[in-house]
């Protein structure tokens, strides 16, 4: 067989994958090319075959024409891919958070294994978890597509309130709240500068007494200042852009800071224990903050997901509304 034809068929074979009809398709293509060469040239030479191949199309184009009917995911199920992934990732993320706070490994059958990780590892683990969820949903939809059965997958409706939420979150920042935030933040920084802490046992500023030991004071005060600083910086960025990505980045950074704080607990951080068990209260406050910020992070992810879906497929109601307004 001609060297060029051999290479051409090998390349087509590569794009055809491992389907059971691959060999037969290649035999057919070879036969067609040889037939054309013999009909259009006096002698079937290497040059003749080369000329025929040049007009036959690139190996990828040829292979794609044969694969047109073989879809990985049916068009009707493509919308499910993102929606189901968001739902699965929300669940996955919640489990990661629980595992992170409780500092334990977690195995949820059939497929979630969440190792005990610190905040830095979590940064890498989250995108990996998202990729895993996307792949998992993709595999299921692949099997549904190839079963060729009329399987009606549930289409969970996300509340219409998301629209309002989206509009609310996308409003630009205003100056007055921003200055008040800056003022409050300035006071906290000043307190830290003067007393080495922002956590006080009393409200007597003439004789300030820190709630924590000096090392714990520095650690927790800087943590709080970092969390608030990120919030204010994000608010400032929203003067220039109203993208939901700002909210997502803010919550993501705050989660990392909170993760660092949780992962490096101080031993006996309080100067003295009163009648209240302050450690339990502190744990509850940190847990509530973590859940709050994590919820905000997920909300941003869902809103971004919905926006992507809307860009792809406008709601049928929108069309009707336009019609009515005419």
């Amino acid at each position: 067989m001609s060297r060029r034809l051999e290479t051409y068929l090998e390349e087509i074979s590569h794009y055809l994958g491992t389907g059971k009809e691959r060999l037969e398709i290649l035999t057919e293509i070879k036969s067609h090319i040889m037939e054309k060469a013999s009909q259009e040239f006096e002698e079937v030479t290497e040059e003749a075959i080369e000329q025929i191949i040049d007009t036959y199309g690139s190996p990828r184009q040829v292979a794609e024409k044969y694969l047109e009917d073989d879809q990985i995911i049916a068009p009707a199920l493509k919308g499910h891919l993102l929606r189901y992934t968001i739902i699965l990732f929300t669940l996955h993320f919640g489990l990661i958070l629980i595992s992170f706070i409780s500092r334990t490994n977690m195995l949820v059958l059939p497929f979630f294994y969440i190792p005990r990780i610190d905040s830095f590892q979590a940064l890498f683990y989250l995108p990996m978890a998202f990729g895993f969820d996307l792949g998992m949903v993709g595999i299921i939809l692949y099997f549904v597509t190839h079963s060729r059965k009329e399987i009606k997958l549930p289409w969970p409706k996300l509340k219409r309130d998301w629209q309002k939420s989206l509009e609310k979150r996308e409003t630009e920042s205003s100056l007055l709240p921003f200055f008040l935030m800056l003022l409050g933040y300035g006071v906290l920084v000043w307190l830290y500068w003067q007393s080495g802490t922002v956590f006080f046992k009393t409200i007597d500023f003439r004789n300030p007494q820190s709630l924590f030991t000096p090392a714990a004071s520095t650690w927790y005060s800087l943590g709080l200042l970092a969390l608030l600083g990120i919030g204010i910086a994000a608010y400032a960025v929203k003067f220039f852009t109203v993208s939901e990505w700002v909210n997502l980045s803010r919550s993501g950074c705050q989660l990392v800071i909170l993760g660092i704080i949780i992962n490096r607990p101080m031993e006996n951080p309080f100067i003295e224990f009163t009648h209240l068990d302050l450690q339990i209260i502190a744990d509850i406050v940190i847990a509530v903050a973590a859940v709050w910020i994590a919820f905000d992070f997920l909300k941003s992810l869902v809103i971004l997901g919905i926006k992507t879906l809307r860009k792809k497929a406008p709601s049928p109601h929108e069309g009707f509304e336009k019609e009515r307004s005419r």
Binding site: H32, E35, K36
Partner: protein
């Protein structure tokens, strides 16, 4: 800027080529002979579109393919099946109805 007509033509040809092949294969033919036959009728039938189409129609049972290895070069001959004839009859009716509708519309809108 002029709109490129080729993608629209490809889309339009999709259905047309199916009927065309089902009509051509009333008698046994091989791929290259079909291309040549259509060339005589001033219609360029692209090979890399025709052969995958023949394969799809064969998979659906509308045509039947048989390898002829009696000559030096093996050739695959195709012919329409009974199922193919039924589908062809239905498709031709649709095509005639569509042509009639289009002709009526064009008469009503002479500016088109």
């Amino acid at each position: 800027m002029e709109t490129d007509i080729i993608p629209f033509e490809t889309e339009m040809n999709r259905g047309f080529l199916q009927v065309l092949v089902l009509v051509l294969l009333e008698r046994e033919m091989y791929g290259y002979a079909m291309v040549k036959k259509m060339e005589e009728k001033k219609f360029a039938l692209e090979e890399n579109t025709l052969y995958p189409l023949l394969r799809r129609l064969e998979k659906k049972g509308l045509i039947e393919g048989k390898w002829d290895v009696t000559e030096d070069r093996p050739r695959k001959f195709y012919i329409i099946t009974e199922d193919g004839r039924d589908v062809r009859a239905g498709l031709l009716k649709i095509w005639q109805r569509q042509t009639a509708i289009m002709n009526r519309l064009l008469k009503e809108n002479p500016n088109v």
